[in-house]
Amino acid sequence: MRPSEAATLARQALADGDSTLARSIAERLLAEFASYPPARLVRALLAEQVNDSDAALDDLRGVTSAEPTNAEARAAQARLFQRRGDTDRARMAARQAVELIPGDPKVLESALEILNLEADSLDTSAAVLARVHLNCGWPDLAERHARAAVSESPERVDVRLTLAEALWRLGRLSACEAECRVVADQAEECVRAAVMRAHILSERGRTAEGQELLDRIGRIDPEFREARELLGILEVHRLVLPDMVEIALPPELLRQSNGTVAVAAEPSPTDGTPAAASPGADPKGADSQTVDGPEGQAETPGESTVQDQPTQPVNDLPESDAQPDAAGGVQVTGDEAAVASTQMRLDETAEDSDLPGAADVLPEASDASAESAEPADEDSAGAAFSTFDWARHLIEQSEWTEAERVLSDIVTANDPDVSRVDGLLLEAVAHRELRGSAWKLLGDHYMQTGRPQAAADAYLRAANVAGGSTE
């Protein structure tokens, strides 16, 4: 069963008032995919039901980090803040939920209730216009309004993500990359920003790195839904969408949910083609893009040459007797599900990976069962895509030029966490290839933070490195 189908079962159980089943399925999902947003959202809603606002807010933070434009999560945050008496934050989150144009009327009603507004008295903000235009496939207009929205609310990560996506659709990849970095600093697990960055890397000829980043996304979005949606817009691209994984629900959970996945779960695409482009997809793809900057033609996404790999159909899974039913879904018995659970384990990938934190991304999935499923440990679950992690990753990969560029961006951004920047730059000076530039950046950073004496020392070291290389 696909994780999204299991999540749909959990939502159904929640709607039917069967909290135990909803929790069991959510926990089972989280045991396998520790940051899976739909499962975390279910768990947050369950915590909200029992007034455990700390746990609920914690999960919602995870959901909005991975999906900053998740209106339902924002609305739930608003309700929880309201319940805590934190009216300002409640209204802010509710405003955000409304401006994300939720498709579910209940989410909209919930947010409007907190704002104490009728739907027809809502004003049209730049953030709303940006989303509307993006959804309509007008990225140029979306960009204009998103820029206005960003200047009004620079702290709003959802707005910045909209801007990044508009730029990406316009083919302005360098500008998009810069916005994605800002998004990733605020929402470390943001899947959409990571997909765009992966694509940008591949367009610059660094396909392996882009692919690696895309693979990491699978730990948060195991079905690569957002990647399929975004990359589906492009005519061609160089990235290979990994096979979708399956999850085995224990027989007792399947029995409780009537044993028929297809009844409650939405049909899953089994033909291997990427999901259809979103309504906002620019059908022209690269046609409307401009080429600027040193990347030249690599700035134009549509000029790539390789299409994505088809998804493995469910009934092609080895050793699986799963048969499609009349509705196109799959009848999964408990035994078959148990077999499926051993077929695709993400922890194998995690162990093999040398990415920072990759090995501890997932708990032991092999013995994951409903009985042993524990809530995922947040600290060990992070498949973060922050600029800092990215810089470290580039340094590890000996990508000196790109690392220098990212470090320079970090210094220019003037992160308020001074010691974090200090630490990163001091790590960088340990590498001979980066030494000169890292000392200079450290000097710049010290100047920004009012430490001229340390800055003078760093600049002198940079000058010495430059002198040494000249000699």
């Binding site: 000097g443 100047m447 004496q453 760093a458």
Partner: protein, 115 residues
């Protein structure tokens, strides 16, 4: 809001100036010193003057408003006005008084309290 690069362009137009660096407090010095010190030059000179300012303040002598020094072929003037700081260099023929006046009015004109 005036950008440091705009201000730098204005300072470079002052007579006799061969290099300049300018920055707002809490920002990175920008500019060039006519090739002296390469890309590190503006930062290094600014940081060194900042170190001297810090020492003077630590000694309780107050805040330096300007520093002038001369070497065998160069004159250097560093000034502070509001949020802005600037370091300029020129040859021995540089009219320091004229540059001081020009620089003071430029920095003051572009100072935005609270910026």
């Amino acid at each position: 809001m005036t950008s440091a690069s705009d201000l730098h362009a204005g300072i470079q137009r002052l007579p006799g100036i061969t290099g300049a660096a300018v920055w707002r407090i809490g920002e990175i010095p920008t500019g060039d010193l006519g090739g002296r010190g390469g890309s590190i030059g503006p930062g290094l000179l600014s940081a060194s003057i900042g170190t001297m300012e810090q020492a003077v303040e630590t000694m309780g002598l107050g805040q330096i408003a300007e520093i002038w020094f001369v070497t065998e072929d160069t004159q250097c003037l560093a000034m502070r006005a509001g949020q802005w700081q600037a370091v300029v260099i020129g040859g021995l023929e540089l009219d320091v008084d004229g540059v001081r006046d020009g620089l003071t009015s430029l920095l003051a004109a572009n100072d935005e309290p609270g910026a």
